[in-house]
């Protein structure tokens, strides 16, 4: 591999790793606040134990997310100096707001973790809500930087040719709303389904464990509501990309020729050299509807873009299919869960349902990773669309395989340790449940 590829892979591994922990850090506090609120409402001690148990996971995920995020903000300059060197003045504002929100999240998380006995119950719940709000905000702010890369705004040239940057316009770039909404929902879907899946897995072994039953019933509705909203947000995103980054949509759909009306390709293996697709099903009109809400709309194909500027079509098509397929699968599961939750609560204890929930544990994160592949690989060969090529931005430093190997090794180790600690904490919570005499014993306290 050459230096550019190592730089890109280092960035991809760093982002791919960080995003999982960032999602957990953003969404677990929402679930924690919910548990805390249920505890206040019902007085049932089980909610406090769930909240405390989740809080330990949050502390671990937060620390890993915080340091991997610090690494990311420096990596942009370490690996692609021309990006920060050219557009640092534009994207700095988003980083400043993200930093503020992130710092607030850390402060309130500290209050939440250490303040149970030191703060009034109201203040403690307030801290939980603030962790959730600021955590979400920090994620939303930093996505603006990615939105800027996809649809740069606030960039103009003065008469003497120097670049003039407007950080406010860059922050409020047009790609931001759709991306931020899609990412925030994806974080909620992925994390709450993962939480539901983990508790389902423990219920499989311990069918009558009230701790896991209650935790599952807290996480599942959150997951379900977000998963049902996500296809709508995906539609919003698709329409945005169709207008602002047509080549990304064309590559994701392996649409080699501009077509009116354009069919949606489901499955299939694209061959970019011969501009053909083998296998796969073409759904007539569907891509026109997806892109422009009009069955007769023309959808730009890759023929509108010079061959050298095509994103990698195969990678993109597979990633896009994976993301959409998981999105719809989880929306289906969400619908079923809500029906069950509302009308047939005992279904949630059924082993077949548990098996499906367990299988769904990693799916949301898989979709998040696939989605980042779509947005990042789909922008290639550009780092900032139309303004800065990735090739021109990469550092001149040789031997970039060294940081790549270091990054992979470090994050692999951190992933394994975090997972191991998570299992240990679940075991500990179960041991505690076994000591608790009967369900509802803590009620009224």
């Amino acid at each position: 591999m050459d230096n550019l590829l190592f730089a890109r892979w280092t960035m991809a591994v760093s982002l791919g790793f960080h995003i999982v922990f960032a999602c957990m850090g953003m969404v677990m506090p929402v679930l924690m606040a919910l548990a805390e609120w249920r505890h206040r409402r019902t007085g049932d001690d089980i909610y406090r134990r769930i909240s405390d148990s989740w809080a330990k996971g949050v502390a671990i995920f937060f620390a890993v997310g915080a340091v991997s995020g610090t690494v990311l903000s420096f990596e942009l300059s370490l690996l692609f100096p021309a990006f920060m060197g050219t557009f640092g003045g534009a994207v700095g504002l988003a980083f400043a707001w993200e930093g503020t929100a992130f710092f607030l999240e850390a402060i309130f998380l500290g209050m939440f973790l250490y303040g149970r006995r030191r703060l009034s119950p109201d203040a403690h719940l307030f801290a939980a809500v603030m962790v959730a709000v600021s955590g979400m905000l920090s994620g939303v702010m930093v996505v603006s930087v990615n939105g800027f890369m996809n649809a740069p705004a606030g960039v103009s040239r003065a008469a003497d040719g120097t670049m003039v940057l407007d950080p406010v316009a860059a922050l409020l770039n047009p790609a931001w709303p759709a991306e931020a909404l899609h990412m925030a929902l994806a974080a909620v879907v992925a994390t709450s389904f993962a939480v539901a899946g983990i508790h389902a897995a423990r219920l499989w072994r311990r069918p009558h464990d009230r701790f896991h039953q209650t935790a599952l019933r807290l996480a599942l509705p959150v997951a379900a509501v977000a998963a049902l909203l996500q296809p709508l947000s995906g539609d919003f995103s698709a329409k945005d990309i169709a207008r602002r980054q047509p080549e990304k949509l064309a590559a994701a759909e392996a649409l080699f020729e501009t077509q009116r009306p354009a069919p949606l390709l489901v499955g299939g293996w694209p061959d970019p050299d011969n501009r053909t697709v083998s296998l796969g099903v073409h759904v007539p009109y569907a891509l026109s509807v997806l892109a422009f809400a009009d069955p007769d709309a023309e959808v730009a194909g890759l023929d509108q873009v010079p061959r050298a500027d095509w994103p990698p079509v195969r990678v993109l098509h597979v990633a896009f299919q994976l993301m959409v397929a998981i999105g719809f699968a989880l929306a289906g599961l969400a619908l079923f869960s809500l029906v069950a939750w509302w009308f047939k609560p005992h279904w949630l204890g059924d082993r077949r349902v548990l098996a499906v929930l367990i299988a769904a544990t990693p799916l949301g994160y898989l979709a998040v990773e696939a989605g980042w592949v779509v947005t990042e690989v789909g922008r290639q060969p550009w780092l900032v669309r139309g303004l800065l090529r990735t090739t021109d931005a990469v550092t001149a430093m040789p031997h970039l395989w060294v940081p790549f190997v270091g990054t992979v090794a470090t994050y692999a180790l951190l992933g394994v340790i975090s997972a191991r600690l998570l299992v240990a904490h679940i075991r500990k919570a179960e041991a505690l449940t076994d000591q608790t005499p009967s369900p509802g014993a803590g009620e009224g306290t």
Binding site: A63, V67, A106, I107, F108, M111, R117, R118, P403, L421
Partner: protein, 324 residues
């Protein structure tokens, strides 16, 4: 221009006082083996302190994007190692703290201590390289990416920052029990080491012709040196008489005056590349939106941080422990 200096000073000062105390605590643990005190004083969520470092990055990227990005790229190795240290110590400390096993792995402790020592060392070496006049844009791999920061001067600066962090950490850790004699001795030696390293650094910088060394004798930096010396005397008095607030304030003031003096001595030179000074005048203005963001950000963060410290340091009710 003054605003730029002020924000750099505040960010660097807060990073050294808040983040530096964390690093120093790692060295304290390494030297004394006293885990309990460090565990009690540190909280995993303070990993957020690296935000101050990111603030410096954002600010310099805003006013001087080209040189900032280029210098970071040249300092890839020490900054990469510092980041590795940040990751290692931050995660290891949290893992150790939250590992439900009766005896958490020894590797956590090793990673926490090693990261705590190496991070300020490499950050200090990187900081030294920007002002030492060793950075060069052309040459072999070693000439561009290794020798500019791997210098005797860089090492001295790194050790000096590490000792400064260490001293401040000892003062903070001791504030809980100002009459602990062994710890007071450690504080004294840490302080002596800071003063010695500072003198050695200044002598070395002057002898080897480091660009900023001559300007230390200008009124501004000299005033800071004087104030730092007065603070150092305050630390000594406070420690001897067991007055914890005086000791803490004086130690914090000493660190801040040293940072201020160093920044003033280097001002208006932001960095030296290929032997040419990059002056603060060449930097663009700080974007008004960024000033607003920083102002609002500080207005939100500072009271919240104050509240956190208040919750954290308030006397703990009986029968509670932070790890439960």
């Amino acid at each position: 221009m003054t605003f730029l200096w002020l924000v750099l000073f505040v960010a660097l000062g807060l990073y050294v006082l808040l983040g530096g105390a964390d690093f120093g605590a790692g060295l304290y643990e390494l030297l004394t083996g006293n885990r309990g005190r460090v565990d009690k004083a540190l909280s995993p969520v303070w990993e957020a302190n690296h935000v101050w470092l990111i603030l410096i990055l954002v600010l310099l990227s805003n006013v001087l994007p080209g040189p900032t990005a280029q210098i970071i790229a040249w300092l890839h190795i020490p900054l990469g190692l510092a980041l590795l240290g940040i990751v290692a110590r931050g995660t290891a400390f949290t893992f150790r703290h939250y590992d439900p096993a009766a005896r958490p792995a020894r590797a956590y402790t090793v990673a926490f201590r090693a990261g705590s020592v190496l991070t300020p060392l490499f950050l200090g070496m990187s900081f030294a390289a920007t002002g030492a006049g060793t950075l060069r844009s052309t040459g072999t791999f070693a000439e561009v990416y290794v020798w500019p920061w791997l210098t005797g001067h860089g090492l001295l600066v790194g050790v000096f920052w590490l000792l400064l962090c260490f001293h401040f950490a000892v003062v903070l850790l001791l504030s809980e029990d100002p009459h602990d004699a062994a710890a007071r001795r450690l504080g004294f030696w840490a302080h002596a080491a800071v003063v010695l390293a500072g003198a050695a650094l200044f002598a070395q910088a002057a002898l080897s012709g480091v660009p900023w060394a001559g300007r230390v004798l200008a009124p501004g930096p000299l005033l800071c040196v004087g104030a730092a010396t007065a603070c150092a005397a305050g630390v000594g008095t406070g420690a001897r008489t067991g007055r914890r607030v005086l000791t803490m304030v004086a130690a914090g003031g000493e660190a801040l005056f040293i940072i201020g003096g160093q920044l003033l001595a280097r001002w208006p030179v932001l960095c030296v590349v290929d032997g040419r000074e990059v002056l603060a005048e060449t930097a663009g203005p700080v974007a008004p939106a960024l000033i607003w963001a920083l102002g609002v950000g500080l207005a939100l963060v500072v009271p919240a941080l104050g509240a956190l410290f208040w919750v954290f340091k308030a006397p703990r009710p009986e029968g509670t422990s932070i790890s439960s």
